[in-house]
Each structure stands twice: as structure tokens, then as C-alpha cells.
């Protein structure tokens, strides 16, 4: 009888301990706990448990105040930020305007800060009184509140006491979880912060783990070692559901997979036969490629349903998403006709379309499609599918899929004619400025517009939007720009948004965020 009691107590204690602990498996791990030094999704996602920022994006893509109570723009270069009152740091001290000013300044000016893409325009942040911070920018930044989502607030006094290295070893913030212990890039153990200002999370103890192999994450989920597993692969969906122990949760993400085409070289584009004319300078040829791609089939057969067909470059929760744009229908016959009408028809009767060369000859329409093979979900297979779809309309397409370390430098250098890549950013102004604005000599505009897409009307609309403080007006301008760039110019061919996927154990209620940040504090007990 006594033995039974002991066993019973043991089972109960295990059950309770299990119920209060949440283990989350990521595909990567945070490489540092200094919140301003590494701008990369997993590192930030881990840090978000410990640190908070003045503003942050909601799941619906709205900018919401977190450690700020309000922000007001007094002149184009000056903002007055009121901090939230009664917020405590993990060491028990109260957050002051001094802490906020110090943290924003550090994120904006530290030589090694990787947050300058967001807060780099800030030249000073000063505490006016206990609750007010004055922020000055070099140039007007209408998106400053949104950009402050990358300025984690840290306690100035503690930071100055322990120094940079000491802080990264034992970080302190205002977040829902307190630091307990970690191994760089491997795991992070956290405990709930009981004095947290906001809604306290359900789980008291949290372990964030780096489990790089997808099969191992799923195994852990099915064996009960893991409660939430990031990036479950489509081939494992059925197994997870069948197990009865976990389920797969998906959210349409904000990362768009797209096809880009050479816009700037009439001759000498590197993915075409030597001397051949580049057909993609004409929007009708780009439209032909667009209409030749059966995206529904790609999502269904290659992505296993783990993606959502994209009608445009921006996602639904983004600023500037246009309600007016739909996909061109999949119509290989019409696509081939478009190319034939442009004079690329098959004259020698071998079945392949033809391109004229500079010296008046005609060569088969051969095309190299470039793609990475280790960056996006099933990237090489998607490129293969596109190649076979283009072959169906008479373009002799071959895929050159290479590791990202080789792919991206070549993409930057403009060695491609037609390639597949991905883009994800919550900042639509940044997306438009760097992907849709024409390139300029100083590198301020069109930094990632490697294909040299250019339309003066679109440029003007983007520039105007970037200077507009009113969110409604800004959205209208971006929509106008997109309504030209996507359906008329076909600047890019959107394929799909990658879904954000998580395997979730039965006792846990969790749905992934569209922005790919996986937060344990958003998990609820069922």
C-alpha cells in the first residue's frame, strides 16, 4: 500500500511538472543574447522571450504599442515617445525613459549593431523626463514606430554595471520570461517572470532548443519530448496527424517566392544562348512566362499544401497589399501565342521557340533558370517544375540549382536571366524601395532590384509614400504603385507565400505567426 502511494505521488509530480513545462524545438538557435547584435529570425525569436521593444507587429500586421504608451510626431524629424508606466525589469527595477533612450541609442549607433536597417536613421534619443523620450532622426522616417520593433529595451544601470560581455551572459529585460541558463545556439532555459506587466504566459518553465534536423524534431514531437516543433516538413504531415499525439498548424506567411527576369541587357544576358536577344525586356514576354506557370499545381504537388498561392508580391497583412490584383490565369496556349506574336515562333519546325541574334540568325530559345537548392522549402523542385512548364510552351529551359552560398553572390552580381528567389519583410516601404524602385548610383534606391526594373511613375509613387506620415495615405500610394508594377509591368512573377508551419502537441494550443517568429509565450494550455 505504501509503495502504491509513492508511485502515485511520483506519477502526479511528473504529470504536474510536465504540464508546466513547454519545450519548443527550432530549426536553428540564437547565436547571441545581446539584443542588438544579430538581426536574424531565430535569434530574435529567442530574444523576444526576454526582451521587449517599444512597438511590435500584431499577427494581423498592425503596429501596436508594447513598452511605449504612445508616440507623436511633432515635426518630420522629431518624435515624442511616452513610455508605459509600471513596467519592471527582471531585476526588480522599474523601466524609465532613461533606459528606453539608452537602448534606442545603442541599437542605432553601436558599431556592431545589426539593427541599423531599422533604427539607423535615429541620431539621438534623450529622456526629457521620467516618462518621455525625444527621438530625433537624420531624415524624416514616417515608419519610425514600426522600426522600433527592432530596438529591444535593456536596463541601463545593470548593463553599465556588468558590461557588454556580462550582459550577454546573463541578459535582463522586461519580457514575459527570465533567463535561467543557455548554451550558445543550442538551448535556452527560461522561467516565467511573475512581475510581468502584461498577460502572463500559461507555462512556467520553457526550454527553447535547436534541433536542426526536421525528422528529429518530428520524432521528438511524437515521442512527447517536444511540445512545439518548428518547420515540420510536408512529407511528415500525415505521420504527425496519424500519431494522435500532435497536430500540424499552418499560417500563410509573409515570405513570397517569386521569379525575376533580366530587365536591362538586350544582348548578353547570361542565361540565354550566346548572342541571343533577351525577350524579357518586353512585358508581354514576362506575361507569357507568368501564364505558363501552373502555380496551383506547384502548391499542391510540390509544396504538399504547405504554401499559399500568391496573387502579388506583398502579403495580405502587409501595408500596400492591393485588393485589385489577381493572378493571370494559367494558360499555356495563350502563353505560347504571346511569344509567337512577339516574333519568337518556331520557324524551323523543331518544336522549340526561337530567339533572334544580333547578326540576324535565329537560335533555339534555350533558357537557364537559376535557383538556390538549400534556402527555401523545396526550392530546387519548384525550379524544376517551372522548367518543365516552360518546356511545355516551347522554351528549352534547364535548371541550375546551387547552394545559397553560391547563388546569392551570383544573383547580386547580375549573372542571371531568369531566377527564383524569396523575399520577406514586414516593412513594405523597404520592400518597395529596394525591390521596385529603379537603381540609383548612390545605392539608396533599388538595392535588391538586381534586374533593373524601372518605371518613373512607380518610382515617384514609392518616393512619395516613403515621405508620407499618414498611414492611410501611405497605403493608398503603395497600392497605386503596386497596381502598375505587378499587373501592368509584371516586375516579378509571384509564385506563393511559404506557410509558417508548426507541429503542436495535443495538450497545447498554439498557432504560428505569419512573420515566422515562434514565441513560446503565445502558447496556451488546452
Amino acid at each position: 500500500m505504501k509503495r502504491l502511494w509513492i508511485i502515485g505521488a511520483f506519477i502526479l509530480s511528473v504529470a504536474f511538472a510536465g504540464g508546466d513545462k513547454l519545450v519548443v524545438a527550432y530549426q536553428g538557435g540564437a547565436v547571441t543574447l545581446d539584443p542588438h547584435m544579430r538581426n536574424e529570425t531565430t535569434t530574435l525569436a529567442w530574444q523576444h522571450h526576454i526582451f521587449e521593444t517599444p512597438f511590435f507587429f500584431s499577427r494581423e500586421g498592425k503596429v501596436e504599442p508594447v513598452l511605449a504608451e504612445s508616440i507623436e510626431n511633432v515635426d518630420p524629424n522629431t518624435w515624442i515617445l511616452k513610455i508605459r508606466k509600471g513596467v519592471k525589469f527582471h531585476d526588480g527595477s522599474t523601466m524609465t525613459a532613461e533606459d528606453v533612450a539608452f537602448s534606442i541609442t545603442r541599437a542605432a549607433t553601436h558599431p556592431k549593431s545589426q539593427m541599423k536597417g531599422y533604427v539607423g536613421k535615429v541620431i539621438s534619443a534623450t529622456a526629457v523626463d521620467g516618462e518621455t523620450v525625444e527621438i530625433k532622426t537624420k531624415v524624416p522616417d514616417p515608419l519610425l514606430p514600426a522600426h522600433l520593433d527592432h530596438a529591444a529595451i535593456i536596463p541601463k544601470a545593470y548593463f553599465e554595471k556588468v558590461g557588454e560581455e556580462g550582459f550577454a551572459k546573463h541578459p535582463i529585460g522586461t519580457g514575459p520570461y527570465k533567463f535561467v541558463e543557455w548554451l550558445n545556439a543550442d538551448h535556452l532555459t527560461l522561467v516565467r517572470f511573475e512581475d510581468y506587466w502584461g498577460t502572463k504566459p500559461d507555462f512556467k518553465n520553457v526550454v527553447l532548443k535547436n534541433i536542426p534536423q526536421g525528422a528529429t524534431r518530428v520524432a521528438g514531437l511524437l515521442s512527447g519530448e517536444i511540445d512545439i516543433a518548428e518547420k515540420v516538413l510536408p512529407q511528415d504531415f500525415a505521420r504527425v496527424e496519424r500519431s494522435g499525439r500532435a497536430t500540424v498548424k499552418q499560417t500563410a506567411g509573409t515570405r513570397v517566392i517569386y521569379v525575376a527576369m533580366d530587365y536591362w541587357r538586350e544582348y548578353g544576358s547570361e542565361g540565354l544562348p550566346e548572342g541571343a536577344k533577351n525577350p524579357f525586356l518586353d512585358p508581354q514576354a514576362r506575361k507569357a512566362v507568368y501564364m505558363a506557370i501552373d502555380e496551383e499545381a506547384i502548391v499542391k504537388k510540390i509544396m504538399g499544401g504547405a504554401a499559399t498561392v500568391a496573387p502579388q508580391f506583398l502579403a495580405k497583412i502587409h501595408e500596400g497589399y492591393s485588393p485589385n490584383i489577381t493572378r493571370f490565369p494559367y494558360d499555356p496556349k495563350a502563353a505560347r501565342k504571346l511569344l509567337e506574336d512577339l516574333g519568337y515562333g518556331d520557324k524551323n519546325g523543331d518544336g522549340w521557340l526561337e530567339l533572334p541574334t544580333k547578326d540576324g540568325k535565329r537560335v533555339p530559345f534555350e533558357l537557364r533558370i537559376d535557383a538556390p537548392n538549400d534556402r527555401y522549402l523545396n526550392d530546387a523542385q519548384i525550379a524544376q517544375a517551372i522548367a518543365s512548364m516552360l518546356r511545355d510552351i516551347g522554351i528549352k529551359a534547364e535548371v541550375n540549382a546551387v547552394p545559397k552560398k553560391v547563388f546569392f553572390p551570383n544573383m547580386t552580381k547580375g549573372h542571371f536571366t531568369l531566377y527564383m528567389a524569396g523575399w520577406g519583410s514586414m516593412d513594405s516601404i523597404n520592400t518597395m524601395l529596394s525591390m521596385f524602385h529603379s537603381k540609383d548610383a548612390e545605392g539608396l534606391y533599388g538595392r535588391f532590384n538586381r534586374e533593373h526594373y524601372h518605371n518613373p511613375k512607380v518610382d515617384a509613387l514609392i518616393e512619395q509614400a516613403a515621405q508620407t506620415f499618414d498611414p492611410g495615405d501611405r497605403n493608398d500610394l503603395l497600392v497605386q504603385a503596386m497596381d502598375i508594377a505587378m499587373p501592368v509591368d509584371i516586375a516579378y512573377i509571384p509564385l506563393h507565400y511559404e506557410n509558417v508551419i508548426a507541429g503542436v502537441a495535443k495538450g497545447v494550443d498554439f498557432t504560428p505567426r505569419p512573420d515566422e517568429y515562434l514565441h513560446a509565450f503565445e502558447a496556451k494550455k488546452k
Binding site: N184, A185, K209, D427, F448
Partner: protein
């Protein structure tokens, strides 16, 4: 002996400097590290600022001189990603990999050596054939596949063993077995063939002729002679595992130094890559030295003076 050790240490030092130089120059040829280090959303000017902060803005020869200077002081630089000393990051994870590899080697020796001897003394009987068949399986099964299959069987279906990490003896079983399988097979085959060679030699015939027990002939005379090539290979395998257990570390999510080095390679965190390679080079030198010293222990004819 002391003189020998000093000479060997000096040779190791030269080798490390040569390796460091080669790696440093080799990494320069892999392109601009900022491609992978700087986040996409930074402007060109901001990327240049970051480059300067990492000390990558100086001409290569100045970077090289600075790097060698620091290396002489045992400083391998600061990781770009974590801001911590690169050597510390590697050494922090060294024991994890070391423990795993030691357990795997132990398993491989405990099983591989006796099986090899057994196969040799019963050459071409069914035991030998059966063991040789097993060894072909062991050599040809890919680590990746074995690891995943073990996880599926023992973690998912049976629920006996944890699938990731390395925090208790239970955690060691699957990864250590995954790593040792190939070595068991390798040792088996190699001990078998060297034993067969030795068993055919004159001194064995003499030993048998003077009436020694077969047990003594095999274990004292034959095995001792077969051990020298075995130790050489085992030493090399030990080094190869220390620097090559990356697939196993990845599958079982073990925080070893190989996985760290792989991540560093992907992110172009050069100080960590260099630190890993230097640690590995030193390790190989030490292993080779130990192997050489073991020769003297086994074979009384070998002397280092």
C-alpha cells in the same frame, strides 16, 4: 624521450601555423563575408560600418599579419555572430564531442577487435562468413540513415530513448552506436586480415611447435603483432570522428563542436571556422603522438631517443 617530445611539439607548432595560413588564405577566396553576415535590410553604408567594426575593412596582408600576431598569443579572434572568443566557443563544446567519440570508439574496439580475432581464427568457417557479411552492412549503411532509423524505432515507436541532446547515459546510446557501427565493421575486417597474416608466420609455427596453448599463441603472440596497424587506424579514426561527427551531431541535435563549425561555415563566421580547424589540427598531432608512443609500449623494439 624528452628530446623526442620537444621535437614533436615543435613540428606540431609549425604545422598549426601552416594550417592557419592556408585556411586564412582559403577563406579569402570564398567571397565577401558580409554577404552572409550583414542583414539584408542594412544600407551599403551601414554594411561598410559593420565591416569596419569586424575589422574586415583592412587590406588582406594587414589582416593576415594581425591574425598571425594574435594567433601567437593564443587569441583566435572574436566570433562575428556571438561576440565571444571563437576558441572559447569551440572549447566549450569540445568535451561533448570528445565524450561521444570516446564512447563510440570504446564500443567499436570492444566489439570490433574480438570479432576480428574470432573471424581470423575461424577463417572461412560460418562464424567468419557471418561476421564478414555483417561488416559489409556496417560499412555500407549511411550514418544518416542509421540515425534516423534508430530514432524512429527507439524514440518514436518504442519510446525507450530520447531523440535529441546528450545529457544522460541514455542519450549516448543511439548516437554512439550510430558512430561506432562503421568502426566496428572496419576494425573487424582489418584485425581479421592482419591476424591472418601474422598467424601464417614462422614464429607462430615455432610457438605452436614448442607446445604453447593455442590461447597463448593467439592472444599473446599473434594479437600483439596485429595490434600495431590496428592502433594506427584506430588513432586516425578517432581524429576523423572528432572532426567529422557532423552528421550524427546534427541528427541527434548534439551540441558538439562539429555542428558549431558547420553553422559557422554557413554564416561565414570566420574566426570560429579557423578556431575549429586549428583545434582539429592540434588534436590530430596529439593523437598521432599518442599512437607513436603506444607503438613503443606494444613493440619493445621501438625506441624513441
Amino acid at each position: 624521450m624528452l628530446r623526442y617530445l620537444i621535437i614533436r611539439s615543435f613540428q606540431t607548432l609549425i604545422a598549426v601555423l601552416a594550417v592557419a595560413t592556408l585556411i586564412f588564405l582559403g577563406l579569402q577566396m570564398t567571397g565577401d563575408p558580409m554577404e552572409n553576415l550583414a542583414p539584408q535590410d542594412m544600407s551599403d553604408a551601414q554594411v561598410e560600418e559593420l565591416r569596419k567594426a569586424y575589422g574586415l575593412d583592412k587590406p588582406i596582408h594587414i589582416q593576415y599579419v594581425r591574425f598571425m600576431e594574435k594567433l601567437m598569443h593564443g587569441d583566435l579572434g572574436i566570433s562575428f555572430l556571438s561576440g565571444e572568443p571563437a576558441l572559447k566557443l569551440i572549447l566549450e563544446r569540445f568535451p561533448t564531442t570528445f565524450n561521444l567519440v570516446m564512447v563510440s570508439m570504446l564500443i567499436a574496439i570492444v566489439f570490433g577487435l574480438p570479432m576480428g580475432v574470432a573471424a581470423a581464427i575461424r577463417a572461412d568457417q560460418w562464424v567468419d562468413r557471418f561476421l564478414r557479411f555483417l561488416s559489409v552492412l556496417g560499412i555500407s549503411a549511411p550514418t544518416f540513415w542509421i540515425g534516423i532509423m534508430l530514432i524512429l524505432i527507439f524514440s518514436v515507436n518504442l519510446g525507450w530513448l530520447p531523440s535529441s541532446g546528450l545529457s544522460s547515459w541514455k542519450h549516448y546510446l543511439m548516437p554512439a552506436f550510430t558512430l561506432s557501427l562503421y568502426r566496428i565493421a572496419l576494425f573487424l575486417r582489418m584485425v581479421r586480415s592482419t591476424m591472418l597474416d601474422v598467424l601464417n608466420q614462422d614464429f607462430i609455427r615455432t610457438a605452436r611447435a614448442k607446445g604453447l596453448a593455442e590461447r597463448v599463441v593467439v592472444y599473446k603472440h599473434a594479437l600483439r603483432n596485429a595490434l600495431i596497424p590496428f592502433i594506427t587506424v584506430a588513432g586516425l579514426q578517432f581524429g576523423a570522428l572528432m572532426a567529422g561527427a557532423v552528421v550524427t551531431e546534427k541528427i541527434f541535435a548534439i551540441p558538439g563542436m562539429n555542428r558549431l563549425a558547420l553553422d559557422a561555415l554557413y554564416a561565414d563566421d570566420r574566426p570560429v571556422i579557423i578556431a575549429f580547424i586549428i583545434v582539429t589540427a592540434v588534436l590530430f598531432a596529439v593523437v598521432n603522438l599518442v599512437v607513436d608512443l603506444l607503438y613503443a609500449l606494444i613493440d619493445p623494439r621501438v625506441r624513441y631517443a
